[in-house]
């Protein structure tokens, strides 16, 4: 149940990131609402999931989904570059962020 909440939180974070991209392209009400609603609901679900899932684990999973999601959405929907160096570096960042959270 709480893992479901956590995954939903990660997916909503991706919605928030789509909001960031859309506001950057076109700063209107709809896009701002996508951004704010995405992140606010995402944080809310993350906090709820943290009641049973350890904080570091929950945060690591949440950031992992958000960052991978942001990169994938950027490449598929916004035609962002797909070089191996870029993909490798994004994966490296996720690996070290998750590592740092789990080590502490």
């Amino acid at each position: 149940m709480d893992w479901g909440l956590l995954i939903a939180a990660g997916l909503l974070e991706v919605v928030g990131v789509i909001g960031i991209k859309r506001v950057a392209q076109n700063n209107n009400w709809t896009n701002n609402i996508i951004l704010i609603a995405g992140f606010v609901i995402s944080f809310q679900l993350l906090i709820q999931a943290m009641e049973t899932i350890p904080l570091a684990t929950a945060y690591a999973v949440w950031t992992g989904i958000g960052t991978v999601g942001a990169a994938v959405v950027g490449m598929i929907f916004f035609k962002e570059p797909k070089s191996w160096l870029r993909i490798g570096c994004i994966l490296g960042i996720i690996f070290s962020v998750v590592g740092l959270k789990l080590v502490s």
Binding site: I20, V23, T63, A71, R86, C89, S96, L100, V103
Partner: protein, 142 residues
Amino acid sequence: MTGGTKAVTDEAQTEKTEAEKTGTEKPAAEKVDKKISDARAWTYVVLGGLLEIVWASGFKYEEIPGLIVLVALLTSFDLIIRATKVLPVGTVYAVFAGMGTLGTTIVEMSLSGSVSAMRIAFILLLLACIVGLKLSSKGSDG
């Protein structure tokens, strides 16, 4: 052809005089806002990430006043949005998340004094990947 060019020039001239009437600053400011340089966008991402440390720590430590947390939160998102106008959102968000974790880890390490080789290794890898992303964004139009 010539007529068309002349019309365009005339239009540009009318615009120019109008701009002069209302003050020339506004169109210039709009142009700057539309396309900032890559270097400036990277500065925004790093600054946004540093501000994330402030507001993320603010959620944890109650000593930081709520107003500062709110201002840091809004400013960091504003910087991230500005950077996304020039750089890929996947890159911006990865660096933003990386900077936040890097900062909170360093804050935590210096407060608790627990420095481990493992943590240092992860921090170095994280920094290397951020630099790698910066290098990979060169030569692409983003």
